[in-house]
Amino acid sequence: MIDKTVAELSVALAAGDISSVELTQAYLDRIARYNDDLNAFITVCEESALDQAKAADLARANGDTSPLLGIPLAHKDIFCTKGITTTCGSRMLQNFVSPYDATVVERFSAAGTVMLGKTNMDEFAMGSSNETSFFGPVRNPWDLSRVPGGSSGGSAAAVAADLCAMATGTDTGGSIRQPAAFCGITGFKPSYGRVSRWGMIAFASSLDQAGSLSKSAEDAALMMNVMAGLDSKDSTSVDTEAVDYSATLNDSLEGLRIGIPKQHFAEGLSAEVESAIRTALLEYEKLGAKVKEISLPNNHLSVSAYYVVAPAEASANLSRYDGVRYGYRCENPVDLEDMYKRTRSEGFGDEVKRRIMVGTYALSAGFYDAYYRKAQKIRRLVKNDFTNAFKEVDVVIGPTSPHTAFELGANSDPVAMYLEDIYTIAVNLAGLPAISIPAGSANGLPIGMHIVAGDFEEAKLLNVAHQFQRQTDWHLSKPTTLGMGA
C-alpha cells in the first residue's frame, strides 16, 4: 500500500481498506528501517504522527470526507512547525523550535494529513545536491552513491523511496524540480505568490515559492488544492480566484502548442537526456499537440543574474541570525562584535557564508547599480523572453537538468554546482509555474522533463503533465534498492 499514489490511498482510506493508523505505522516502519541509508529525515515524529492518524480515523468515522484526510506526508525542514524542531539544515537552527506553524503546515493539518517528520535539505536551501546540510548529505534511492539533487533532496528521496506518500518543498532556483528529476518523481513549483511564504524560512524573498513533491501530477493537484490561496500574513501572496486543480486534469491536449527552446537543447545537454525528452515530445504529438522550436535568447544570462539577486536577498534575510533572539550563539564572546562574528561563522556552513559574502558585496556602497540593479534589468529581459514565447505557445518543454544524478562529492566547485540549474533558474526570475515529471531513464537513473506555463496557469500545467502520465509509466518506475522492486 505504501507505494500507492495519494489519489489511490485516498480511495483506499475512504473505502476502509486501510486505516490511517495502519498506513502511518507502515511508513514509520519503513523510515525506521531505511532512513539511516538515505538520511532523508532530520526529525521523525512517531508519536504525534500516530496521534494525528488516530484523529483522522475518528474524523472519518464521524463523516469527514476530505480527500487528504489521514494521508501521511513529510514537510521540508524549512517550514516552521509548532513544538517540533525546524533546522533549515543548519547548525544555526539546530535546536530551534518555532512558536507557530507555517501557513502551509497549518493548511495541511486542517486538511487532516499526518506529519511523519521533517526532511533534510541543503543548508538554508542553498545547494543543488543536498550536500551542504549540516546534518549530512541525503542519498539518492536509485543509487546510494549519488546525490538526490537539492535543495529539497530529503523530500524527493523520501517520496521516491516510499518513506512518505507526499512531501512539501521549496523552490528558489530549481530546488523542487531538480531533485524531483534526479529521484524520478513529480516536482511542482507554483507561480510566485500562489502559496503563502509565511513561516517558510526566507532565503531569497522575491524568488522563494513553496510547492510539492509527489508520485504523480494528479497528486500534485490534490496538494495544490490544499496549499494554494491568499494568506493575509504574506504580503506577496496573490489574491486570485480559488481553482480546483483536479477538475481540468483530463482536458484534451488536442491543439496544445508546445514550444521547445533551442537554448535548452544546445551544448551541455547530455545525449541520453536529449533523446528521452525528444521521445517524450512524440507522446504529446500523439495526443494532438503541436511542437515548435522557440527561442529564449536571454536564458544564458539567468544564472548570472540569479547569483546576484538570490545572494543579495539572502544576505539581508540571514542578517537576522545574530545570536540574540533565537538560534545558535557562540561560547564566551568577548564583546558584541565578537559574538556576532563568531556566532555567524560557527553557525553557518561554507556555502551559506559564500552567498552572504557575494550578496553583501553586491549591495555594498558603490556597487548597487553595477550588480543588483543590473541583475534586475536582466531579470526583466528573462521575463520578456517567456512573455514573448507565450504569445506563440501554451507551454514550454525541455529537460529539467542537463544530466542524471551525479556522484556525491563530484561537484566541489561552487560555480559548476550553480550551473546545474541552468534550465530551471529563469523560471524563478520570471515567477512562473513549472513542473518536472519523469520522462525516461539512462543507466538506471531517472530523467526529468521540465514543463513551464504562463503566470497562474497551474491548472493547465498539471493537465499537461497528467495527460503524459496517463500515456506513459515512467512515473511508476521504482528504484530497486531498499527492499523495493522485485
Binding site: 536571454n298 562584535e337 555594498s364
Partner: protein, 95 residues
C-alpha cells in the same frame, strides 16, 4: 572582477562574518570565481530596460493599521540563548 584579500576582509566585516587567515585565500578565490560568472551579465546593454523587482510587477498589499497580534513576549524570549526579566542579554556594550 577580481577581489583582493583586503576587500574580502572588508566584506566579511560588513556581513559580520569572521574569516581566519588560513581561510582568506580560498574564500577570495571562490568569490572571485563567482564574480566572473556574475560579470557575464555586463556584456548586455540594458540602458533602456526597466528593472524587475517583483516577478509580477505587483505592489505590496496594505491592511488597516490595527493591532492584530497578541503579546507573545515570554514565548518568544524563551527561544533566546540568554534572556532575563523580559530583556535579551548580550555582552556588555557600554563600560
Amino acid at each position: 572582477m577580481a577581489l583582493d584579500k583586503s576587500e574580502v576582509e572588508k566584506v566579511a566585516h560588513l556581513a559580520r562574518l569572521h574569516i581566519s587567515d588560513a581561510e582568506v585565500e580560498e574564500v577570495t578565490n571562490r568569490i572571485t570565481d563567482i564574480l566572473v560568472l556574475i560579470d557575464q551579465m555586463q556584456s548586455v546593454d540594458t540602458d533602456a530596460v526597466e528593472p524587475l523587482a517583483h516577478p509580477l510587477d505587483a505592489v505590496q498589499r496594505l491592511r488597516v493599521d490595527v493591532v492584530t497580534e497578541t503579546n507573545l513576549r515570554d514565548e518568544l524570549q524563551s527561544l533566546a540563548p540568554h534572556s532575563q526579566d523580559g530583556f535579551y542579554l548580550v555582552p556588555k556594550v557600554l563600560e
